[in-house]
Amino acid sequence: MKVRVIVMPKAAVLDPQGNAVRDAMRHLGMPEVRSVRIGKYMEIDVDGQNGDLEARLRGLCRDLLSNPVIEDYELQRSSASAKATARHREISKEK
């Protein structure tokens, strides 16, 4: 199973990096940019996909991959394999 974890700073936490990028974007001709928040994106490949795997992954998202004091996380099951299956079906239909 492939999962994606997105970790973002909480709204109350100052994100100076995001602000610097926002200012650069405005400076480069996009005054419409209201805000930029910078987080982390992780791709994780795990053996298997059943049982308590997702619950254990969530546990680690909370304890290791993010710090709940300053960050929120989102765990997504990768849809890459689902997409590949769908594409394969379309090709089969065309034939």
Binding site: A12, V13, L14, P16, A20, N67, V69, I70
Partner: protein, 260 residues
């Protein structure tokens, strides 16, 4: 530093207090801590590798500065799962003194022994400078006998030292007098210009509610030798020593009472 270490006079074990200085892979102020502590009479510091599992032999624990595990993911995020941290947490809960400087402070926050978190400096720059901090609490085990308002000069060197706590946590920190040090100017005023990293309310160091765990971004270890420009850091180590000594005296007098 090495000369000081090797020429340290032999001391009697029974009266000697032992401080553990934890070495994580990536710690780089461990030698500064050991040297600073060993310079004080009656104190001896020993290195403890992060894979050790007991700290029973020690009177106090120091988590030094550096970049434990390369600061990967977040500062202190991986270090807090090192085997030694179980002993640090259980000894801290039992009341042993724990001091975390710089990266050690970050590890203590990640481990949940101290509230809040340390995030990227507001300036986005690594700050390496001498700072002035004001003592806000004069009765903590770490600032024992420092009058409130005492100014301590110590160096800082960090990229992620901006202390953050949510509104509720911040209110508790103030209500329970857990803010031990704030960045101040040379006159002791808590002003934004004196804040090197954007920390909320100029917070430089905090303790837990039980007051036996203290984390600070400045380096007492690098302010423990007159040749380095300040001896103020040594006062923190000395205060810890006095606290341990006082608690030993209490324990032994309790024993005498029990025997009597």
């Amino acid at each position: 530093m090495i000369i000081t270490l090797s020429s340290a006079p032999p001391r009697v074990r029974s009266t000697m207090m032992k401080f553990a200085v934890i070495q994580f892979p990536g710690s780089n102020c461990d030698q500064d801590c050991v040297a600073g502590i060993n310079d004080l009479d009656g104190l001896r510091a020993e290195y403890v590798w992060h894979k050790a599992t007991s700290l029973d032999d020690f009177d106090a624990i120091v988590l030094p500065g550096g970049f434990a595990y390369g600061d990967y993911l977040r500062c202190g995020a991986i270090a807090r799962f090192s085997p030694i941290m179980r002993a640090v947490v259980s000894d801290a809960r039992a009341g042993k003194l724990v001091l975390g400087t710089c990266n050690g402070f970050q590890v203590l926050c990640e481990a949940g022994l101290l509230p809040g978190a340390l995030v990227r400096n507001r300036s986005l720059r690594f700050v390496c400078d001498m700072v002035t901090t004001r003592v806000e609490v004069d009765d903590s085990p770490f600032t024992h006998g420092f009058p409130k308002g005492t100014l301590l000069h110590m160096p800082v060197a960090h990229g992620e030292g901006c202390f953050f706590a949510d509104t509720e946590t911040l209110r508790d920190l103030n209500a329970y007098r857990q803010v031990i040090l704030r960045y101040a100017d040379s006159l002791g005023r808590i002003v934004p210009e004196a804040n090197p990293n954007g920390s909320i309310e100029n917070i430089a160091g905090i303790c837990n509610r039980e007051r036996n765990v203290f984390g600070l971004m400045p380096h007492p270890d690098r302010a423990s030798d007159a040749r380095l420009g300040s001896l103020d850091g040594a006062r923190i180590f000395r205060s810890m020593m006095q606290t341990v000594s006082a608690s030993r005296a209490t324990t032994s007098s309790d024993r005498v009472k029990q025997v009597a």
